[in-house]
Symmetry: D2
Subunit: 393 residues, 4 copies
C-alpha cells in the first residue's frame, strides 16, 4: 500500500513535535485520538490515506534532535516517549535554510547568518525532498509550514510573477523571505503545500503561478485553533440573532518561543491582521471597537490564554456583555488539524487538484482567496465537496 510523506518546516517546534510524536503514539494504540475530523463517516467517500501510512520528516533552524526536543517539550508522557523513541530516531530533521530569516527570529534562536545563496538553499531543500521520497518509497509529499510567524511584508513587484521571483532568487534578494523558499521548493518538486502560519508565503502571485504550472494544491493560511475559532463561532451567533457588536477586545498571552517571536511588533502585526479579518467579515460591518493584543508571558509555557470582553446591543439599544476566558495548548489544538489537512491534501494530490483548495477553509483563520469565515458554512462546503467527489467517481 502507498505511503504519503509529510515534511514539516519547523520540525522541532512544539506543534510539529506534537504532530509527529502524537500520531506515532496513536498509531501504536498508546494514546487516544481526539480533535480530528478526517476519520468521520462523512468523509469516508474520500478514501483518505490511513494515518499509519504517513511518514514524517522536516527541517529546522534549531540544532537539536527530534527525540531531545520531544523530551524537553513533554508533549507525550515520558514512558510513552521511550516506547516510540526508535521510530522517532528514524525521522530525519534536516538543517533549516538560514538565508533571510528575520533578525528577531535569529535573535530568539541565537542563529548565525547563512553562507549559502538562495539558489543553494532551494537546491538543498529539493534534494532533501528527493532523497526522502526514495528512501521511504513515498509517492506523494505534503509540505507543511509550521514555523514561528515571520514579520509582515508589503506587496512588491518581486512577488508579482514567477519570472520576477526567480530573478530575485538568482540575485539573492533580501525580500524573498525564508518561508517563501520552502514554498517555492515544495511546489517546484510537485509537493502539496500547506501554510499553517500567518506568514506570507504561497499567497504571492508568483507562487500561485508556480502551483498552477506544476499542478499542485495549496492550502492556508494560519490554523484556526483557539481564540479565533470561538470568535468566528460567537460572531456568527450574534449576527444570527441581530445583536449588534459595539466592542470586542481580545487579548492573548502565551509563553514559549512562538510567544517570544510574536513579542516583536513587526511579527505580531502579521498575526493580528490574520486574526481580525474573519470576525468583521462574519458580522458584515466594521463600525465597532475591535482590538486584538498578543503578549509574551513566559510562565504560560506552551499554553495560550485568551480573554475577550464583548459588548453588544440588543432590543431598544440595551447594552449587554459577554466575556470569555480560554486556556488551551496551542500544539494540542493545532496538531490534529495538521494531520487532517495532510490527509485532505494527499487526497487532492491523488485527484490532481491544483491551486488553492477552498473547501479546506474550515481549518484556517485567513483562508486563501476566500471570504467565507463562518465555520458552519465552511463545514457544509467541505461536505458538499465530498459529495461531489463521490458522485463524480
Amino acid at each position: 500500500m502507498e505511503k504519503t510523506g509529510v515534511l514539516i518546516v519547523g520540525a522541532l517546534g512544539t506543534i510539529s513535535v506534537s504532530v509527529i510524536t502524537g500520531i506515532t503514539a496513536i498509531n501504536r494504540g498508546l494514546l487516544p485520538e481526539r480533535g480530528m475530523i478526517a476519520n468521520e463517516a462523512d468523509f469516508d467517500p474520500l478514501n483518505m490515506v490511513p494515518m499509519d501510512r504517513l511518514v514524517f520528516g522536516g527541517w529546522d533552524i534549531r540544532e537539536d534532535t527530534l527525540i531531545e526536543a520531544a523530551r524537553k517539550q513533554e508533549v507525550v508522557p515520558p514512558s510513552i516517549l521511550e516506547e516510540i523513541s526508535e521510530e522517532l530516531e528514524n525521522i530525519p530533521v534536516w538543517p533549516g535554510a538560514l538565508s533571510n530569516v528575520d533578525d528577531h527570529i535569529q535573535d530568539v534562536y541565537a542563529l548565525q547568518d547563512s553562507p549559502a545563496s538562495l539558489l543553494e538553499e532551494v537546491r538543498n531543500i529539493s534534494e532533501s525532498i528527493d532523497q526522502f521520497k526514495q528512501e521511504h518509497n513515498v509517492h506523494r509529499v505534503v509540505v507543511v509550514n509550521a514555523t514561528a510567524t515571520e514579520k509582515y511584508v508589503e506587496p512588491l513587484s518581486l512577488y508579482d510573477c514567477l519570472d520576477n521571483f526567480e530573478d530575485g532568487l538568482e540575485s539573492d534578494s533580501k525580500d524573498i523571505r525564508s518561508g517563501m523558499l520552502y514554498a517555492y521548493a515544495a511546489l517546484k518538486n510537485g509537493c502539496a503545500y500547506v501554510n499553517f502560519t500567518p506568514s506570507i508565503t504561497a499567497e504571492i502571485p508568483a507562487l500561485q503561478e508556480l502551483a498552477e504550472k506544476e499542478q499542485v494544491p495549496i492550502a492556508g493560511k494560519d490554523g484556526r485553533t483557539g481564540q479565533t475559532l470561538y470568535k468566528h463561532v460567537l460572531g456568527k451567533m450574534f449576527k444570527a440573532r441581530g445583536l449588534k457588536i459595539k466592542g470586542w477586545y481580545s487579548t492573548n498571552i502565551l509563553g514559549n518561543a512562538d510567544g517570544k517571536v510574536l513579542n516583536d511588533p513587526e511579527h505580531s502585526a502579521t498575526k493580528i491582521a490574520s486574526k481580525e479579518n474573519g470576525l468583521e467579515h462574519i458580522l458584515g460591518y466594521h463600525d465597532f471597537d475591535h482590538l486584538v493584543r498578543i503578549d509574551y508571558f513566559p510562565i504560560r509555557g506552551d499554553h495560550k490564554e485568551a480573554w475577550d470582553t464583548i459588548e453588544f446591543e440588543g432590543w431598544l439599544g440595551e447594552q449587554m456583555s459577554m466575556k470569555v476566558n480560554w486556556l488551551g495548548s496551542d500544539a494540542t489544538l493545532a496538531a490534529p488539524l495538521i494531520i487532517d489537512l495532510v490527509r485532505f491534501m494527499d487526497h487532492a494530490l491523488r485527484l490532481n487538484l491544483s491551486g488553492f483548495q477552498k473547501h479546506l477553509a474550515l481549518f484556517f483563520k485567513s483562508p486563501y482567496q476566500d471570504e467565507e469565515y463562518a465555520m458552519d458554512e465552511q463545514y457544509q462546503r467541505l461536505l458538499q465537496f465530498t459529495n461531489t467527489v463521490n458522485t463524480i467517481r
Copy 2:
C-alpha cells in the same frame, strides 16, 4: 390592510412589557430595531405582517396597569414612555385565570384562590379573545405564553387525549395547570399558540390533538435567549473539532419575579430540564459532568448573569478549559424573538399550517417534537422552509 392580534399570557411581566412598549416605540421611530430576524431579506418571500399591523392585549394575575408596569420596569426611557402612553392605555390587560396557579407563584404574587371553575376560566379567556377580535377588527390572533415557569408535572392519563382533558376541565381537576387553560382556550378559538416558557402546556397529547382538530399552528418551547443560546453554539464548535467535553458547569443568577419563582426547586426543575437536553443532543454523548444551577440574586434585577466553566479534552488526552461570563437582560433578549415568532406564526395561520411548526426550532431551547438543537442547522431549515413556501406559491 389586515391586522394581527397578539395576546400575551403574563402581559405585565418584563418580557411582555418590553415587547409591547418596545414595538410601539419602534413603530413610532423612537427607538432602534435590534435583535429580530424576520425583517431580513432572506425572509422577504414570506411577506410577513408588518410590525405596525400588530395589535396587543393579554392577561395577567397581577393587579396593575400596563402603563404603571412599564413605568416601574423602566424598559423604555421615561421620556419615550410618556410619548407612547396613550397607545399603551388602549391595550387591554384582562385579569388572569387564578385557578390552579402553583402555590409558590401565588406566594410570590400574593394572590388569592379563584372562586371560578375551570370551565368558567376557559369561558372568560375565550370571551376576551372574541371581544378583542371584534373591537380591533382583527382576523388572526397569536397567543403567547410568557408567564413565570410553572412547576414540573409528570405525564398523566388526563393529558393523554382531548376527551380525558375535557373531562378534567369539567371535574375541576387540580392537574390541569394554569398554563394549559390558556393553551386550550387559544387553540379552541383558532388562535396560533406559542409557548415561550418551559412550562408544560401545548406539548401534552390532548392539546396536540386539539391543535390538529382546529387546524392551528403551535410553536415552543422556552425561548433560547442567553446561556442556552451560546451553549448550543459552543457545543457545536467543540463537536465539529472533535474536542471531547468532560465537564460543563453552568450557573445562572437572576433577580425579579421570575428569579423568585425559579428559587423554588420544583419550578427550577422544569427550567433546568429544558436547559440540559439540547447540549447533550448536539454533542451526541452524555458521559460528562453536566450541572446547571439557577439562583435567585435580587440585586441582578431584570438582568441575568451566567457563568460557565467548561473542561474539554483534545489531542493525546490533553485537558483544556473555556469559561464564559454573560450579562444580559432577559427581557431584551426575549422580546425581539417574540415579535419574530408572532410574525412567523401569523404567516403559518395564513397558510393554514397546523400542529408543531418545526421550522421555528431556531427560537427555542427545547423545540417541540424535535431533536435538532444546532443553531446553524435550524437556521438552514428555516431558510429551506422559506424557499419551499416561495416555490409553491
Copy 3:
C-alpha cells in the same frame, strides 16, 4: 532532642496525605517549602519545634494504607514517593471509629455499622495515642481533625456540660457525633486539639470544660484556604474604602470525596454557615444579597474552583462590579496551614496554655469564640502574642 506527635483524624484524605508526604519530602530536601509562615523570622522568638521533629500517625475509616493512598492521590510525584516510601510505611494509620458516622458519609465510603459502644471507641482512640507516645518516645501530641464535613447539629443539653456529655457516652447517645469522640479522647489524654473542619466538635461547652480541666489548648475551626481567604481580604478592602457591598454571589465546585460529602444539603449547610459569617462581620452589615453555593463536579478532582460576582456601590450611588475566579488545590492550600498550626499548638502545650488559642484565628474561617475575621488584624495579633511571649521569657 524532643519530638512532637501529630495524629490526624482522617489520615488517608488528600489533605492529610499531602501533609504527611509533603513534610517527609521537604525534610529530605526533595521538594520546596511553600505556604507556611511559622518559619518566618517574625516567629523566631517562639522557638518552635523543627519540622523534622514531627512524627505522624492517625486514624481513618477507609480501608487503605498510607502508601497506597499516596500513590492514588499523586500529591507527590511518583519518583519522590518511592524515595520516601520506607518512612511512610512506618507511619501508623489505625481504623477509625465507626460509631455515629453520618449516614451520608457511610454511603460515600461504603462503610458498615460499628459493633463498638462509644466508650469502647474512646478507649481505642486513647490506647492508640498512648501506644504511639511510647513507641515514638513522644512527649507532646497534637490531634488534628481533617475529616469530611459532618452534618450540622443543633445545640442540645447533652453538649452543655461535661457531665451530660459523659452520660451520653455511657448511654451511646446518637447525638455524640463521630468527630466529638476524637476531640474528647484527645483532650482527655492531654493532647492539643485542632479542628481544621467546619464540623461541630470542640466548640461545645462540654468539651471546652474538658479542655480547661485538662489544661490543654484548642484551636479551630475550618481552615481558611481558598474562597473564604480572599473574600475576607477583599471584604476588608471594600470596607476600608467606604464602598458598599450590594450583592456577593459565591459558587464553589469541587470533586473528590469531600465534594461528594458536601453534595448532601445537611453537610453543605455546616460548611456554608462557616463560610458566610466572616464576610458579614468584616463588612459590619448584613443588608446585601449574600449567597454561597457548593456543587459537586467530579471532573475537578482534588481541585476546587470558585467564582464570585460582587456588586458594590460607590460615590453618588454608582454601581460597579468585581468578579473573581479561583482555581486551587484544597490539599495544597491546607497542608502548610496544618503544619503551621501543629507547631504553634506544640508551643502552646509547652507553655501550658489552655482553652481556645485566639491568636491562631489567622488560620481559620470561623475562629472559635472570636469576632475578628480580618486577616491583617489577625496577623498583628499573632505578632503581638509572639512579642508578649518573648518579653515574658
Copy 4:
C-alpha cells in the same frame, strides 16, 4: 466659620466634575455619601473641615463650562444637575496654561500653542489663586492635580534644585512640563499640593525644596482607585500565606479622553511604572512575570475594565491560579479620595505640616518617598498619626 478652597488642575475632566457636582449634591442632601473615610469616627480627633465648607474652582485647557461638562458627562442625574446648576455656575474655571503641554495631549484636545512665557503662565495661575482667596474669603487652599497623564520625563539637572528650576522658568525651558508649573505656583502661594496623577511634578527635588521653604504640605502620587488597589491587597494576601507569585498579567481597557491620552506609549509608560512598583514591593521579590497593559477601548466610556490572571505556587510546588475582572468608574472611585485628601491636607495646613505627608500614603499608587504600599499598614499609620496629633493637642 472658615472655608477652604479647592482648586483643581483639569477641572473639566470627569474626575473633577464628579468631585464638584457630587459634593454639591451631597451637601444639599440629594445624593448619598459613599467611598470616603474622613468622616469615620476614627478621624474625629482631627476636627477636619466639614464638607460644606469647601469651595471649588480650577483650571482647564479645554474650552467648556463646568455646567456643560457636567451635562455631557452625566455623572449626576439630569434632574439633580438642574437643582444644583446655580451653585455650579458660581464655580470659576480659568483657562489652563498651554505652555509645554505634551504634543499628544494637544492633539487629543485640539489645542493651540501658547503665546505666553512660562513666567507669565505662573503669574496667571498665581493671580487666579489670589483672586479666588479674596472673592471667597478663603484662608487655606488645596491645589489638586487631576489632569491626564503627562509623558514620562527623565531626571535632569534642571530639576535638581530650586535655582536651576527658576532659571528654567526664565529661559522658557521645554523641560518644565505643564504640570510642574501649577505645582510651582501652588507651593509658591502657600497652597497645599496634591498630585492625584502619575505625572512627574512635585517629586522633583526643586519643588521639594520649595515646599520646605514655603512650609507647605505635599501629597501624592497617583490615586489608587481600581486595579492597583486590589493588586496591593491581594499581593499582601499571597505574601502572608507564603504563596509565591510566578506570573501576574494585568490588562486595563478604558475609554474617554484619559484613555486616548494613555493610548500613546510615552504617556502609558508613566502610568505603568506607577502601577508596577507597589506590588513588587509588597511581595518582596521581582522574579516573576509581571506585565501591565493599558488599552484604549472607546466603548468603555468613563468606565475602566481590568482583567488580571495570576499564577501562584504553593505547597510542594503546586501551580494554582486566580483571575480577577473589575468594572469600575474611574471618576466614581477617584472623587471621594480627592475629597478625603483635601480635608486631610487642609488639616495639615492648619497644623503647619510641610513636605511629603507620608501618613496619606493610603490614598496613592506610588506614595512619595515611601516604600510602604500595603493598605492595612498604611491605614494603621494614618490611625497612629491621628492618635499622635490628638495626644499632642
